[in-house]
């Protein structure tokens, strides 16, 4: 079956770190540049994330995400560079259009922050199987119902896509034109949405019953299908991140 998760199966030490630690890392990568709002620190954080992504051998998968993010960020750079209130120093003059230094600097901080956050998230998303993440969270005390909702999203969407194409085939074989111009495709697509949505609602009912039959709502403590994975380094990594955060706060306050 097709999958909508971006997870890439690889052998690397990043893959071997437990999902919770990766969640902490996201928090860490967001907080540090807030505590210490300097270019250098943001650059170091971003650099760390990118190095981790390279070690995880998933750099190629990040490119489409980065290019999308940069596409959005370019508009930020242009708008801030041209129009930020407080723009004084002209950096570049193109006819009537002027780029200002203050605006560009401000835009650059935003660019760094956004790429930093995106990179930290990608470490989690690209190197963690969604089901592993959910299982780890449920073990930490998250409600299994919420866990199920998250996992099922990853299953239901590809399932709906498969159903969509089967229904499409069935209608094509009864003479509905679905190939060719964009307009033809759109016209063919809309009437199909009804059965797809209806079908998934029916499936949801059946799934709910199947879950109930297997005691999903039972109040007894749940057991897990998979044995709990042990991650030797996670304590250490979490401790290091905590110490670094404390140091950052101290630096900000006393220096």
């Amino acid at each position: 079956m097709k999958s909508i998760s971006l997870f890439v199966e690889r052998e690397s030490f990043v893959h071997g770190i437990d999902p919770i630690t990766k969640l902490y890392y996201i928090l860490f990568a967001i907080i540090i540049p807030i505590i210490l709002p300097s270019f250098t620190i943001s650059a170091i954080c971003l650099g760390t994330s990118i190095i981790l992504l390279i070690f995880a051998k998933v750099m190629r998968k990040t490119l489409p995400v980065y290019s999308f993010v940069f596409f959005v960020l370019i508009t930020v750079v242009i708008i801030q560079g041209l129009f930020k209130p407080g723009n004084e120093t002209v950096l570049l003059q193109l006819g009537p259009v002027a780029m200002y230094k203050e605006g560009l600097q401000f835009a650059l901080t935003i660019v760094f922050r956004v790429t930093n956050i995106v990179s930290a998230f990608m470490i989690l998303v690209l190197t963690t199987k969604p089901s592993d993440l959910v299982e780890a969270l449920v073990r930490k005390g998250m409600s299994p119902r919420i866990g199920y909702v998250i996992v099922s999203v990853f299953q239901i969407i590809p399932e709906m896509m498969t159903t969509m194409s089967t229904i499409m085939d069935a209608q094509r074989s009864r003479g509905m034109e679905t190939e060719g111009k964009l307009l033809v495709r759109i016209k063919a697509f809309i009437p199909l949405l009804g059965p797809v949505v209806l079908g998934s609602l029916i499936n949801t009912k059946e799934r709910a019953m199947a879950l109930e039959v297997r005691g999903f709502n039972s109040r007894n403590p749940k057991t897990y299908l998979n044995e709990e994975k042990t991650y030797p380094n996670s304590r250490f990594i979490q401790a290091v991140m905590l110490v670094l955060t404390v140091c950052a706060v101290a630096w900000r306050m006393f220096l």
Binding site: Q171, G175, P195
Partner: protein, 264 residues
């Protein structure tokens, strides 16, 4: 009516072929396609229908080259009833569902309705015209799907497992439909696991195994080759096996034949 030459197909570019080097010709004889799950039967009919494009080889339907046509264009020539009726049904009423294909092939509303009602009479659903198809039982849904394809009056009709979920009465209806199509000189192709039904209703049988044609011939010929059938994990019909164990020399296909042979 259909000519298949050197047909190969695989779902993943250079991956394991689902079908390899199939050469077949179909005439008016009703034909059953049998074989284990995963033997490539459904893939084969989807290729005939133009829903999948062949990796190698060509399929000619009449004078049409399937590769050059869209599935929708082929709909006038060849009809396919899907295995799972829920994949096919998407209109609000039984009548609309049956008329859908007819309207797609640019039939006038009046004629479409007439043909649709005729087809529904054939399957015994003509008293449920304004019902929502989703309220029908599974076997009725299957019959509705059959009606909506038969109504299109194509020269070739393909059924994918029509007898699933049918009781005896349902099977009788399907038998009647096949007979009727046969009288009209249409080619009926059926993927099926119900060997008794094959023996009683089909002139020709093709056995698929691991993407290849293992046996092809008249149904009697095919069911007489016990050893080859075993290779494809196909069991001959119950009555054929009984006759064989009793030591009857001829290959028996139906209960009538069996009684006749025993009476001698």
């Amino acid at each position: 009516m259909i000519k298949v030459s050197n047909l190969s197909f695989s779902y993943t570019g250079g991956g394991v072929p689902v079908l390899s080097d199939i050469n077949l010709e179909f005439d008016q004889r009703t034909t059953a396609i049998i074989g284990q799950n995963g033997a490539g039967k459904t893939t084969f009919v989807k290729l005939l229908k133009g829903l999948l494009k062949a990796t190698y080889g060509e399929i000619l339907i009449g004078e049409y080259d399937v590769k050059m046509r869209t599935a929708a264009e082929l709909a006038r020539k060849i009809g396919l009833v899907f295995q799972n009726p829920n994949d096919q049904i998407f209109k609000r009423t039984v009548l609309d569902e049956t008329m859908f294909g007819l309207l797609n092939i640019k039939m006038g509303r009046y004629t479409a309705e007439k043909l649709a009602v005729e087809a529904l009479e054939l399957v015994g659903l003509d008293d449920k015209l304004s019902m929502n198809p989703h309220d029908l039982s599974l076997s009725e849904k299957k019959l509705l799907c059959i009606a909506s394809v038969v109504a299109m009056d194509t020269d070739i009709v393909i059924f994918d497992e029509p007898t699933i979920a049918q009781d005896h009465a349902g099977k009788e209806i399907i038998r009647r439909i096949i007979q009727k199509l046969k009288e009209k000189n249409k080619l009926v192709l059926t993927i099926i696991h119900d060997m008794d039904f094959v023996a009683e209703n089909f002139d020709r049988t093709i056995v698929f195994n691991e993407g290849k044609v293992l046996l092809d011939g008249s149904t009697r010929e095919v069911f007489s080759q016990k050893d080859v059938l075993e290779e494809a994990n196909v069991e001959p019909p119950g009555i054929t096996q009984l006759a064989n164990r009793l030591g009857l020399k001829n290959t028996i296909l139906t209960v009538d034949e069996f009684l006749h042979e025993c009476a001698k």
